[in-house]
Amino acid sequence: MVKITIKDLTFSYRSNKILNDLNVVVNDAEVLSLVGPNGSGKTTLIKCIDRILKPNGSILLDGREIESMSQQEIARLIGYVPQSSSTPLATTVFDTVLMGRRPHITWKVSDADIGKVADTLELLNLQDLSMRDFAQLSGGQKQKVLIARALAQEPAILLLDEPTSNLDMKHQLDVMETISSLVKEKSISAVMAIHDLNLAARFSDNLVMLKNGKVYAAGTPNDLLCERNIRDVYGVEALVMTSQDKPCIVPLRSLNRSQACV
């Protein structure tokens, strides 16, 4: 079943066109990664889907035009994990995750809301941190708490902006495995902007490769991550191998730089 349908999407910051006539489809219970070089429009597309930015064109969520939905309705459908979140003011992990219930509550927190937060913390193995100050956590822990906050929204769609940036190898894998298993267990769809092609290849069902605000190619990691595409999109000569049936990319050199040296 199709979860998100993006048609002819265009977005500009003043006269600078960031997204140009994009068409993307996200299916149910899949991890779709947006890859591409810096400035290709990955983060902007994520923000457009969550209506944080208001683009031209059409975005359908479960067949409904997002423009006709209130911010509250969107928040009940979409959970957003930002690249880096400002540290909330003197807030515990539990309260940070409880904030994810905001689209569902007016003021009073019900036992059911508290239960959902507790369940989410346990699901992500964060229960021991629940009364710790969010500001005092490590980068990996913070990232998991932000994912927990988005999950507490009970979203049908999870949007993640560089969920592994600034994390070490272990925490990168930890976060990506968490996302991947959540998508399968809960039948939600995840769209993430990601720089690391190896992580994208390993944990994504499908990729959309962006270049200069346009879709350069879309498909499975095996179809898309070839040496030619990487050269065309990133300007990088890379060696693409296969490991555990997934492409594995070894960047060799920047073509622009080598040309400049010549």
């Binding site: 969550d50 309705e73 979409i78 003011l89 905001r102």
Partner: protein, 359 residues
Amino acid sequence: MSSVYSKEKPGTDLRAEYQKFIGKKMLFLILLILSITILAGYAATQGSADIGVVDVYTTIIARFLPGHFETTWFSDTIVWGLRLHRILLAIVGGIGLAVAGAVMQGILKNPLASPFTLGIASAAGFGAALAIVMGAGFVGGEYLIIGNAFIFTLLASMSVYGLAKYKGITPETMVLAGIAIMYLFSAMTSFLQYVGHAEQVQEVVFWMMGSLGRSSWDKVWIVTGIIAACFPYLLLKSWDINALGAGDETAKSLGVNVEKTRVICMVLVSIITASVICFTGTIGFIGLVAPHITRMVIGGDHRFLLPASALVGGLLLLAADTVARTIMSPVILPVGIMTAFLGVPFFVYLFLRRKKVFW
């Protein structure tokens, strides 16, 4: 959707732990209410006329239950006629300034924000100075100074809104616009002080130090009414202010109308601050520090931070005023000076003692 997220084994321990956490916050609120009640009774005993604590409480209760409690004309006059309105103005004034500070710090994500960040104090000071030095203002008679302080405060807020709106309503644009407005009104006040007579300048300076000496029952009711009208909305928006603390984009993704929330909160905070300082003069310390003290004790959840800051603000201002009018009796010191003398050591103590990050 809820079925997707339901789990067979609920996090019972976490629920209990969280309920305990909330219980501690509620206990803090109750302790604050008790402290204010006790301090208010003590404050009413302080003054040239001798009256005991029991007499004070009896006199207060006798008004509400006249058949059950007896009081004397003397006690009634001292408590209801002379002291209680000043005590209540201190409490509601402190509540108003502290709520305004807590909301400003929350919506601007700035630990230095206070009701005066947006140039509110400078505007009120200018309004008062204009009335005192030039005799000019929007309202005549005994409300000349009060009316000027109130209206210029709102003018300052509208100017900040207009400037910030032009560049986009963000914490940065609001703070920068506020600083510009603050310096503008400060310069205009300095000019008025420069051209004013010595007595006028003295009066302006005294007004700007803040005092509860001009209290009356009318003023208590006006300030209470305005706070009672504005506070429920701010409390209702606690979740949105919490979300703003996590950044505008996160707040939007949680369904918050960021710009509308920020603007409405700013307007209400300006009205509350204007209603307090037009009667008391500028009392700057409470709005800045009461929320910080509270945050250090119970954390940053605005559902509890707003009422608790309010009570801490009321307690601080009442304590400061009580000390200000008794420490050098019969000389009464300006309360604005005493709030800093009392509050800063307490704030520094908490600041040094607390290991956790509170901002």
